[in-house]
C-alpha cells in the first residue's frame, strides 16, 4: 500500500500538487518512486521558466530508466529543490517532503479542478 496524502491533488501521470495561496509545490508520488526505485539523478526546470499544464518540464532517472515529469499545472517556476539535485535518493525516501521538485506560481488556478482527488488517484493505482 503506497501513501496517498489526503491534502494533495494528483495527476494521472503520478505527480502531486500541494497548494499554498497562488503557488503550488510539485513532486512525484510514493507509487511513482516505488515503481522507479533507486533515483540517481533529477533534472529540474530553470527558475523563471513558463510551463503549461501537461508539458514535460523535468526528468527523473533511476538506475535503469529516464522518466519525464509533466507539470500538472501552468505557470512560472519560482523555485527548484537543489537538495533533490544533490541527493536524488530524497525522491525515494521523502517523495512528499524533502523530495519535492519545484514551486510554481499558478497562472490558471482553475486547472486544479482537472486534477485527481486522493480517492481517484488511489483508485487509479489500483489500491
Amino acid at each position: 500500500m503506497t501513501h496517498v496524502p489526503p491534502d494533495l491533488k494528483y495527476a494521472k501521470t503520478h505527480e502531486w500538487v500541494r497548494l499554498s495561496g497562488d503557488t503550488a509545490v510539485v513532486g512525484i508520488t510514493d507509487h511513482a518512486q516505488h515503481e522507479l526505485t533507486d533515483v540517481v539523478f533529477v533534472e529540474l526546470p530553470t527558475v523563471g521558466r513558463q510551463v503549461k499544464a501537461g508539458e514535460a518540464c523535468a526528468v527523473v532517472e533511476s538506475v535503469k530508466t529516464a522518466s519525464d515529469i509533466y507539470s500538472p499545472v501552468s505557470g512560472e517556476i519560482v523555485a527548484v529543490n537543489k537538495a533533490a539535485e544533490d541527493n536524488p535518493a530524497l525522491v525515494n525516501t521523502e517523495p512528499y517532503g524533502g523530495g519535492w521538485f519545484y514551486k510554481i506560481k499558478l497562472s490558471d488556478p482553475s486547472e486544479l479542478n482537472n486534477l485527481l482527488s486522493p480517492e481517484s488517484y488511489t483508485a487509479q493505482i489500483g489500491q
Binding site: 526505485t37 533507486d38 540517481v40 539523478f41 533534472e43 526528468v59 532517472e61 538506475v63 535503469k64 529516464a66
Partner: protein, 382 residues
C-alpha cells in the same frame, strides 16, 4: 507467454520485481538495484542465471571441432578447467561470447547467453558437417534440462563449503569448493544429484556458478540463501547484474558484441588464439590484429556531474571542431563510483585512456573521458 526458469516461484516468494528480459520473466531487482549491487561488492549476492543455455559437445573430435568453431584454444583446458571464448562467423563477427569447460577428457560444457541459445546451436550444427571427422563429435542442447545460479562476493568463500560439503568417504580425495581456483570446475553431490560448481562469474568479485539439473536448482538456491544470509548474502536481480558487469567493462551480447562487431574491435583479442590453427573468422581477425580496426570499444567515465549515459546516446569528440564519433553501447550510473560510466564504439584515434569525449544527453553535451578497464577498481588496502 514469457518463459520462466525453475526459480520463478522463488522470485515471487522473495517479492522480486519481474520484467520481460528477452522473452524471459525475470527479476530486475528484489529490494533495490543499488543495495543489491552493494551487497555483491561488500558481502555476497545470489543470481538466477537459469535462463542461460547449456550445450554439451562430446566425442574424440570434440576438442578439434571446438577449436575450429571458437576463438580461444580448447587444447589449453585440462579436465576441470574453463575458459572465456567467442563464436564468430566468417566475417569475424561475434555470434556469441561464452564459457567453455572441459568436464571430461572428451566432453565439453558450453555456457551460452540466453538470448543466443537457438543461434549458437544452429551455428554449431551448421559447422558440424564441415568438421573433418564428424562421427567423432556429438552435440546436445541441454538448456532446458539445466538450471544455474551465480553466487558472487568477497564473503562467498566463507559459506560455500556448507552448501556443497564433500561427504566423508568420497572415492577420491575431493577438494572443497572453496579450494577451486579461478576457472576451475568440479562435480559435487547435492541431494541425489551431481552438480557442476565453477569458480567463475560476471561481477568482478570472487564467486561461483552452479550448473545443476533443473529439478535440483531450487533446493540449491534455498540452501545458498540460507547459508549465506548470516554473511550478508542478498538475492540479486538482473539490474545489479548489469551495473556490476558494466563497472568491470565486461561485454554484454547485444551491446558490445553483435554479428557486426569482432572480438578485436570489442577489445577481446586476448581470447582469440590466432596461432592455434584454422578457425571460422580467423582470416579477418588476423588482419584486424595486424592492420588495425576502424572502430574500437572503449570504456568511459563521465567527468561532469550529470544524468547517466545510456545505450544509443551519441558520443562526440571534444574541443574545437567537435563532431559525432560514435554511440554508447552500455551506460549506467555506477553504484560504486556515484558517477555515470559506460562503453562506446569510437574510431581508434579516440581509444586511448585519458582521451576527452562528450556524451550527448537530451540534446546537451557533457564531458567524459576514455578510461582503461576495469572502470571500477577496488581500493587496495595497505
Amino acid at each position: 507467454m514469457l518463459k520462466r526458469t525453475p526459480l520463478f516461484a522463488a522470485h515471487q516468494k522473495l517479492g522480486g520485481k519481474l520484467i520481460n528480459f528477452g522473452g524471459w520473466e525475470m527479476p530486475v531487482q528484489y529490494t533495490s538495484i543499488l543495495d543489491e549491487h552493494q551487497a555483491v561488492r561488500t558481502a555476497a549476492g545470489l543470481f538466477d542465471i537459469s535462463h542461460m543455455g547449456e550445450v554439451l559437445v562430446s566425442g574424440p573430435d570434440a576438442e578439434t571441432f571446438l577449436n575450429q568453431t571458437l576463438t580461444n584454444d580448447a587444447r589449453k583446458l585440462d579436465v576441470g578447467r574453463g575458459q572465456y571464448t567467442l563464436m564468430c562467423n566468417e566475417r569475424g563477427g561475434a555470434i556469441d561470447d561464452l564459457y567453455a569447460y572441459r568436464v571430461g577428457s572428451f566432453d565439453f560444457l558450453l555456457i551460452v547467453n540466453a538470448s543466443r541459445i537457438e543461434e549458437d546451436v544452429a551455428w554449431l550444427r551448421n559447422q558440424h558437417p564441415a568438421c573433418a571427422r564428424r562421427g567423432g563429435v556429438e552435440l546436445k542442447n541441454v538448456s532446458d534440462a539445466f538450471g544455474a545460479v551465480a553466487v558472487q562476493g568477497p564473503r562467498v568463500k566463507e559459506f560455500i563449503d556448507r552448501c556443497f560439503p564433500r561427504p566423508p568417504g568420497s572415492q577420491s580425495v575431493a577438494a572443497p569448493a572453496s579450494s577451486l581456483q579461478k576457472n576451475d570446475l568440479d562435480l559435487f553431490e547435492f541431494g541425489h544429484s551431481m552438480v557442476h560448481v565453477a569458480r567463475t562469474g560476471y561481477t568482478g568479485e570472487d564467486g561461483f556458478e552452479v550448473i545443476a539439473p533443473a529439478g535440483t536448482i531450487e533446493a540449491i538456491w534455498n540452501k545458498i540463501l540460507e547459508s549465506g544470509q548470516p554473511f550478508g548474502l542478498k538475492p540479486c536481480g538482473l539490474g545489479a547484474r548489469d551495473t556490476l558487469r558494466t563497472e568491470m567493462g565486461y561485454p554484454l551480447y547485444g551491446h558490445e558484441l553483435n554479428e557486426a562487431a569482432t572480438p578485436i574491435e570489442a577489445g577481446l583479442g586476448f581470447f582469440v588464439a590466432l596461432d592455434k590453427g584454422e578457425f571460422v573468422g580467423r582470416a579477418v581477425l588476423a588482419e584486424q590484429k595486424e592492420k588495425g580496426v576502424s572502430k574500437k570499444c572503449v570504456a568511459f567515465k563521465m567527468t561532469d556531474k550529470c544524468a547517466p549515459p545510456r545505450p544509443n546516446y551519441p558520443v562526440w569528440s571534444a574541443g574545437t571542431g567537435a563532431k559525432p564519433i560514435g554511440e554508447v553501447v552500455s551506460g549506467t550510473q555506477s553504484p560504486s563510483l556515484g558517477i555515470g560510466i559506460g562503453m562506446a564504439y569510437v574510431p581508434p584515434q579516440f581509444a586511448k585512456a585519458g582521451t576527452a569525449i562528450g556524451i550527448e544527453i537530451r540534446g546537451k553535451r557533457f564531458a567524459a573521458a576514455v578510461v582503461s578497464k576495469p572502470i571500477y577498481r577496488k581500493p587496495t588496502t595497505r
